[in-house]
């Protein structure tokens, strides 16, 4: 099956099941709303912690969304058919990841400036927030997929998934939050953004190899 067809198929499945991809988005918004309530509405306090909050919330929302990535295909045997067929499992992996990013990460990116504004982040820092989340979420989804694929044969794996994936999320979180932080203070955020871009290129090119291998192992 052609790559574009595969992505289209995933997107139309998601169109039929809207709650599935809207939940992580709602989670993201709700977690952010909790903080002004907990910390009090002082603009200075909120603006100081906003970059970290937005990034941690986006990271956790992505982590929550990961669980469903291969679940359906693993349970109904689609994955086995893919592994047994002539088609490359790598293409399937890429299609899955691209559609997952479009469905779960892109909405977060789109919503983030609104929430950033709500946390009194300077308007000049909002483009950097969006850009850092675009680059960072690529790494988050692609690296997270390795963890999902490795644990796909295990029941009740969500805590194990977090344990496996979160250590690898730390560098992304550090550079992402620091990019927004630096931009909020009025400096150039190019340094951390370049590092985020480098991490994104690395994970987008290398992680699918590990994902495909792990999927094959989980099928056995």
């Amino acid at each position: 099956m052609r790559f574009v067809r595969l992505v289209q198929q995933q997107l139309s499945l998601a169109y039929a099941n809207k709650l599935d991809w809207l939940t992580p988005l709602l989670f993201f918004a709700l977690v952010i709303i909790l903080f002004p309530l907990a910390l009090g509405g002082s603009p200075q306090t909120l603006a100081a912690v906003a970059p970290g909050l937005l990034w941690v919330a986006a990271l956790l929302a992505t982590l929550l969304s990961l669980d469903s990535m291969f679940r359906g295909d693993h349970d109904d045997g689609t994955l086995e058919l893919w592994a047994a067929s002539q088609a490359s499992l790598l293409r399937y992996t890429y299609a899955k990841l691209v559609s997952h990013w479009l469905l779960y990460a892109l909405p977060l990116v789109v919503l983030s400036p609104l929430l950033g504004y709500g946390l009194h982040l300077p308007v000049s820092a909002l483009p950097v927030l969006v850009l850092s989340l675009v680059l960072g979420s690529l790494s988050l989804v692609w690296i997270g997929a390795v963890g999902v694929a490795i644990t796909s044969g295990i029941k009740y794996n969500s805590f194990l998934l977090a344990l496996l994936v979160l250590p690898f999320y730390m560098p992304i979180l550090i550079f992402g939050a620091s990019a927004v932080d630096v931009a909020a203070q009025g400096w150039s955020a190019l340094g951390p953004l370049y590092l985020l871009a480098a991490l994104a290129v690395l994970s987008v090119t290398l992680a699918p190899l590990a994902v495909a291998k792990a999927l094959k192992l989980s099928l056995n």
């Binding site: 250590p167 730390m170 560098p171 590990a210 291998k213 056995n220």
Partner: protein, 265 residues
């Protein structure tokens, strides 16, 4: 086949590995413990005090070997992971799983001694410095590999998943190693990486090199102990394990028989 090559290949065969561990174990244990005692006594008692840090620097003789081993064990596990995924060697699977908790223990030891060292030198038990953070990440990676292996019931599949996870986690090792060079951090740069002109005096260097070697042998020692158990647990049905267990049971029964005789008398 050349006998040396044959000897080398036999390391992949469980029933050749077990007796080799049995014969090697006392020697490794003796060498490791005596080097450890020599290195620690020399370092902690006889080495000169540092002109800046005084006697507090002496924790280097535990901290540096532990930190070094935390990375070395991971590199060893990476080799084992490649052997598992490429050549499907079962002994390597067991050695990988036997190594993970040892590596985690060394990492924890490095973090703990670092905290003890950091309190008088930096004024804080913990700082979010690049070296410390990446070492903490390493601890979680070790624990993740261990948890993953135990979460999967089919142990061969579990070992393959753990091997893949090990290979993914290896990206963290260069980050730990170069963190003190890439970022301008609080943690001091390495004292030993420049082999020709080490930035440490020979009187302090020698005990450090001895404890380094002792810690490496300690890893080997613990690995042999754990691997021995893993081998017995993995192949309970095979003839050689049954023979070993028989011998163990015999050895257990024999003394109690003698005792009962004594009582009868």
């Amino acid at each position: 086949m050349h006998p040396v090559l044959k000897w080398f290949y036999q390391w992949a065969v469980p029933h050749f590995v077990y007796p080799r561990i049995q014969t090697g174990l006392p020697w490794v244990a003796l060498l490791a413990s005596s080097l450890l005692v020599i290195g620690l006594v020399w370092g902690l008692v006889f080495a000169p005090a540092d002109y800046q840090q005084g006697d507090a620097f002496r924790i280097i003789y535990v901290h540096v070997p532990a930190a070094w081993l935390s990375m070395l064990v991971y590199m060893a596990m990476t080799m084992m992971a490649i052997s598992v995924l490429v050549w499907r060697i079962q002994v390597a699977e067991l050695a990988l799983i036997a190594s993970a908790p040892i590596g985690a223990a060394f990492t924890l030891m490095a973090l703990f001694t670092g905290a003890i060292w950091g309190k008088p030198m930096w004024g804080a038990w913990w700082v979010w410095d690049a070296r410390l953070t990446s070492e903490l990440i390493l601890l979680f990676i070790y624990l993740g590999i261990f948890a993953l292996y135990h979460a999967i019931e089919d142990k061969r599949q579990a070992a393959k998943a753990a091997s893949l996870m090990t290979l993914v986690g290896v990206v963290n090792i260069p980050i730990i190693h170069y963190s003190v060079i890439w970022w301008n951090t609080l943690h001091q740069p390495p004292s030993l990486s420049k082999l020709d002109t080490p930035s440490i005096h020979p009187d302090m260097l020698w005990p450090l090199l001895i404890t380094l070697l002792a810690f490496k042998l300690m890893y080997l020692w613990m690995l042999m102990l754990r691997l021995r158990t893993e081998l017995l647990l993995r192949y309970p049905q095979s003839a050689w394990v049954q023979a070993i267990v028989q011998a163990m049971v015999q050895a257990q029964i024999q003394p109690t028989k003698d005792k009962s005789k004594d009582n009868a008398r």
